[in-house]
Every structure is written in C-alpha cells, then in structure tokens.
C-alpha cells in the first residue's frame, strides 16, 4: 500500500512545475497547459484524500466536477486565444501589451 504522503508529494511537484511553466512561458497555449497541470495536481490531492481521510467518495465527486469545469475553462480560453490570434496573428504574450501594466 502506498502511503498518502507519496501521492501528496507527487501532486506538490506537479503544482510547482505548473507554477514554473506559468511564470516562464510566453505562448498563451503553453500557459494554459501549465494551468491544466495545476488543476490536475489539485485533483490528485482530492482523490488521495478521499481514499485516506474521507473514507467516502466525496473527494472523487469534487474531482469529477473539477474535470468538467476545467474542460469549460479550456474551451473558453482557447476561443479567446483564437479570437486574439485573428487580430495579432500571434499568441505570444509579449505582443499582448496594448494594455499597459
């Protein structure tokens, strides 16, 4: 049986990697991929806790909703990226600086 802490450490590593991607990436779609990593890390936490601490499937239900929400968010975010791409012909975050600071 794999202890709870191992799963938590994996999700913490995933969260940190997602954070790293967020801070360094210039391409908007790359940033979105990093954000998906963060959502997945939260989900792993939820499922692990559901098994070890909750004793019931509540955490899994929450994780299921998170998956659905993340799908919606990705769809809308990509639609926005598309819309912006039509204007700028590029999705580099460096180009999106008409709004200052």
């Amino acid at each position: 049986m794999i202890p709870l802490e191992y799963y938590l450490l994996v999700s913490a590593a995933l969260f940190s990697l997602g954070l790293f991607g967020l801070l360094t990436r210039k391409n908007a779609i790359n940033v979105l991929m990093s954000v998906e990593l963060i959502f997945n890390s939260g989900n792993i936490n939820l499922v692990a806790f559901s098994r070890f601490v909750g004793g019931d499937v509540e955490g899994q239900v929450f994780a299921l909703f998170v998956i659905a929400i993340a799908a919606c968010e990705a769809a809308v975010a990509l639609a926005i990226v598309m819309s912006l791409f039509r204007h700028l012909k590029s999705v580099s975050l460096e180009g999106a600086s008409a709004l200052k600071g």
């Binding site: 049986m1 802490e5 913490a12 990697l17 979105l32 994780a63 639609a79 999705v91």
Partner: protein, 168 residues
C-alpha cells in the same frame, strides 16, 4: 509479490508524469509539449486507478485526454504555422522562476510531511460508480444542475467568440 506490483506501477508513472510535466513546462517545441501533456494526463488516470477511483480514471481519460488535450492540440495547430520545422517557443526569466517554484515545492513538502493526516480506513473497496452516481442525485444534486448551466454557457461563449460573422 502482491505488494510489489502497485509500487512498481506507482514509481514508473510518477517518473513518467513528472518527466512529461517537465517537457510541458520547459520543452522547446510546442507540439512536443502537447503530447507530453497526454502522458501527464494518462499518468494521473493511472494514479486514480491506484487509489481505487475507477470511474474517475475513466472520466479523466475520456474528458481530459479525449477532450481537453485534443482541443489544446487544435489550438496549437490553428495558431502556429506548423509547417515551420521548429515550432520554437521562447521562455523568459527562467532562473528566478525556477527558484520560486523550487521554494514553493520545498514549503509544500515540509508541510505535507509535518502534518499528521488523520487517516481512516476505507469503508469498503470496490467499484465507485454506483456510489458516485448515488451522491450526484442526492447530496450533490444542486451542483449537478449548476454544472449543466455552466456547460451551456461555456458552449455558448466559446461558439460566439470563434464564429466569423459578428453581426449575427
């Protein structure tokens, strides 16, 4: 031998997940990042299965890999000139960000290891689908309905943002 198999699976997929996540956040080529994300999502599904969440593992593969990942790849294809041999992506401020992320990871590790998580034994092993379904129509009925409104609005919004005729 019985306890060895889960351990092997766990460590293998941990390595796969973290390795592919590294490619996602730092890889040079955008399409490579996209496919590495596939490996990450799939490893997460394996973790869910290891934790006994069979329905969730299936849902993860179906929705994340089959939906979100495909969408992201479409996004990549449609917003870049993929016929360029190298789909290079640039990064900025790598070293400070790496320090920040490492710091966050260290802090989280400390907290995770020091907290005495109150663990209970699982009430019963077995398939979770019926239990999840039960919860969805009793306790969690309202979120279930609200989620349907959310899905409608996301669909509407995404379609509106992407269609060509703006006066329609």
């Amino acid at each position: 031998m019985e306890t060895l198999a889960p351990k092997i699976i766990f460590w293998f997929f941990t390595a796969l997940m973290l390795g592919s996540a590294l490619i996602v956040v730092h890889g040079r080529n955008l399409v490579h990042s996209g496919f590495a994300l596939l490996a990450t999502f799939f490893s997460a599904a394996v973790f869910y299965a290891l934790l006994g969440a069979d329905f969730l593992a299936g849902a993860q593969v179906l929705i994340y890999v089959g939906g979100i990942l495909i969408l992201l790849l479409f996004g990549v294809m449609l917003t870049n000139r993929i016929f360029d041999v190298n789909l290079k992506t640039e990064t900025f401020q790598v070293v400070p960000s790496a320090l920040v992320s490492a710091g966050v990871f260290a802090m989280l590790t400390l907290v995770i290891l020091k907290t005495p998580w109150r663990q209970v034994s699982l009430l019963e092993e077995g398939p979770t689908t019926a239990k999840i379904g039960n919860l969805l129509v009793t306790t969690y009925l309202l979120p279930f309905e609200v989620a349907s409104v959310l899905l409608l609005v996301a669909l509407l919004g995404a379609a509106m943002l992407v269609r060509r005729r703006s006066d329609l």
